[in-house]
Amino acid sequence: MTTDVVRAERVLTKPQVHTRPQPAAKPRPRARTRSRLDGAAGHLVMVLLSIVCLFPVYWMVVTSLRPANATFETSIWPTSTSLDNYVYALQAIPILRMLGNTLLIASVVTVIQLFTGLLAAYAFARWRFRGDKLVYSLVALTWLVPFQVVMIPNYLLIAKMGLLDSVTALILPHFASALAILLLAQSMRSFPREVIEAARMDGARSWRILWEVMMPNLRGTIASLAILIFISTWNEYFWPLLLSRTPANSVVQIGIQMFMTTEGTAWGPLMAASTMASLPILFIYVVLQRQVIQSFMKSGIR
């Protein structure tokens, strides 16, 4: 479509708006009211949904501030507040160390999975080699295998390496992610071939094409994937539960679970620990809200 044609269309459509007969404009106030009502109803639904989503978070914080004998009070606003639960949680488990471990593990795993994912995805997207589809299918199949199935063999391997109860061992089995490979391979396949061919004609080889041409253009996908990997690793539970023997070498999810005992659940300290544990993730949501939503929309809710 040329510019002249577009201009011509605009010229043709414009007068139609201005020459609309007066009676046709009559329903306007009603339509406006209806539109306003629709907007208000929409907002009301969103407000209600927000309350539903935020209330558990609010209740977690409020419960963490209630003293032990007021834990089960149902008043919306606590009748008395205390920081005892935070003090106890900080004393009972090395929660700051656990938070540090979790942050380190989640960050390292995110970087490593993105790196291995980018390399593998490039190979699958750009090269045709014997058995490539089979290997790709096998990678996809591993996504369907729950981690619990390979947990014990992984444990035996880690034990042989003498790495039990270490932060390194919590990272090792997460060097590659099928989700990262599949998601990145799909994005790379839809990357314009012309751009890659142009880069190749300029003398760039695969390494440069990947890092200097493709990666900058896949920033959105990579950011979304990074958020998904980070949150998923942050919430990892079973592997640390099996592997970690000391709280100092464990992660915050295990720390939270430690307040659920055979002698009853210490709700106050548990909520205090949960509040502290959710702060980094809440921070990520607040700062990268749009990217987080996009990441879930792109990959489906995992």
């Binding site: 032990a68 834990t71 444990y155 034990a159 099996l242 005992t261 002698e263 009853g264 210490a266």
Partner: protein
């Protein structure tokens, strides 16, 4: 390669047979005896599920381990936390060839621990006189809790009995006498209905069913009606027999009358702690959590497990035993020393006063050097102590499918109590399925 082997002569055969017999006969004698003392440094692992928590159980355990190591400088104890929910760490460590020396084993896991985790019978590794000396002063029926197939595999460590906690303030508000708590299930029903009618609060809750409930409390209820969930030789399931069906139908009636709340363990505990339930049947181990909720809110009291009319109450224990898994004699000695320390008068004093379990030694209850003063200040534990004299073992289900057997039984029980299932038919169906899972 085709060379013919020389024919075996009669003499060779006889010599060979004698040698085999001799080696076979001498096998028990060859097993290395446990040393009398620890002469060189040794490290043992102590797999403990209390250590996997952040509560009073972990603090008391760490304290006891530290005291033991201070008193036995040649023994190093490595406390290994594990989840009793699946014991996956013990399985994984055994598969990885790591040493598993002493374990805090849940009583329902005892059979599996013996057949799969190499738990040792104390009679086979500890000199009889030493065992007799340590067992002196313990409740005889308490010692039976860890006996399986006639041998002592476990020594009761953190264990308890079912206690009926009740809210004395709700009783008063309902014009019930808090000094006369219900002693029978019929009285529980009547008191529950009165509490509901006059206070609007829930009448009764129990930790019998739901996730993580195990089957220990159910076993006590069924047994108190003259039934049992499994035969004494542990070959046949019996939870669909008339006495068991009657006991479970009584719980169903309690629910249908509105008295027995359908709540899982955590919700029921929270409901009782918050003062919204009149009575709550559960292990005494949770009394710390209940006290925390009741402090300055309402008066918490306790009573013994209810009976079926005139039939005697036959409670069984919950909790754990200590089992020795070490094969090395030196480690066995170290594990035995730790086991003795943890089940000593001092050990049980810490376990009772700091965690909320029971002492297996009655003499320390009144002794001011041990629990005397503490028991006076904590009368809630008294009904628990009263039940020690009639305590019976929590029967572990046999075979590798033991957890599935328990789950099949408990699912059916839950369906009967809170659902529309016919008690006799549903339990018979579940029993038939579960029996197929028996070894």
């Amino acid at each position: 390669m085709n060379r013919k082997l020389p024919p075996m002569t009669r003499k060779t055969f006889l010599i060979g047979t004698l040698a085999l017999l001799a080696s076979g006969l001498s096998l028990p004698a060859m097993a290395e005896a446990i040393p009398a003392t620890i002469d060189k440094p040794v490290t043992i692992t102590f797999y403990n599920y209390n250590l996997a928590s952040a509560g009073i159980g972990a603090e008391a355990t760490r304290k006891l381990i530290a005291e033991f190591m201070a008193a036995n400088p040649k023994i190093t104890v490595e406390g290994v936390p594990y989840s009793s929910a699946d014991s996956s760490r013990i399985q994984a460590d055994l598969a990885a060839g790591r040493p598993v020396d002493l374990v805090q084993t849940v009583f329902s896991d005892l059979d599996f621990a013996v057949t799969n985790f190499g738990a040792q019978a104390l009679e086979e590794i500890i000199p009889a006189d030493e065992m007799a000396a340590h067992f002196k002063g313990m409740f005889p029926n308490g010692l039976k809790l860890g006996v399986l197939n006639g041998k002592t595999y476990g020594l009761a460590y953190t264990f308890s009995t079912p206690v009926l906690f009740y809210n004395a303030d709700l009783f008063r508000a309902a014009d019930l006498d808090p000094d006369k708590p219900p002693k029978t299930w019929q009285a529980v029903k009547e008191a529950g209905l009165t509490v509901m009618k006059k206070t609007g609060k829930q009448g009764f809750a129990a930790g019998i069913t739901g996730p993580g409930a195990y089957d220990w409390l159910l076993q006590g209820v069924v047994r108190s009606n003259g039934g049992e969930v499994i035969s004494r030789d542990r070959t046949r399931l019996k939870f669909a027999e008339p006495e068991a069906v009657e006991a479970i139908a009584m719980l169903k009636d309690l629910h249908e009358s509105g008295v027995y709340q359908n709540a899982d363990i955590a919700s029921a505990l929270d409901g009782m702690a918050s003062g919204n339930i009149g009575m709550y049947l559960q292990t005494s181990a949770i009394q710390g959590a209940l006290i925390a909720g009741a402090t300055n809110k309402y008066e918490l009291r306790s009573s013994t497990m209810p009976s079926f009319g005139d039939k005697p109450v036959r409670p069984n224990n919950s909790g754990s035993a200590l089992t020795i898994h070490a094969a090395d004699p030196l480690k066995q000695r170290a594990a035995w020393e730790l086991m003795k320390f943890l089940t000593s008068a001092h050990g049980y004093t810490v376990i009772t006063s700091e965690i909320g379990y029971l002492p297996l030694r009655p003499a320390i209850v009144a002794d001011p050097n041990y629990l005397g003063g503490w028991i006076k200040a904590h009368p809630l534990v008294q009904p628990n102590l009263d039940q020690l004299a009639v305590l019976e073992p929590w029967d572990p289900m046999p075979g590798p499918n033991y957890r599935q057997i328990v789950k099949t039984m408990m699912d059916a029980v839950e369906m009967v109590i809170f659902g529309n299932a016919d008690p006799a038919a549903a339990l018979a169906d579940a029993e038939a399925h579960a029996q197929d899972l028996m070894p």
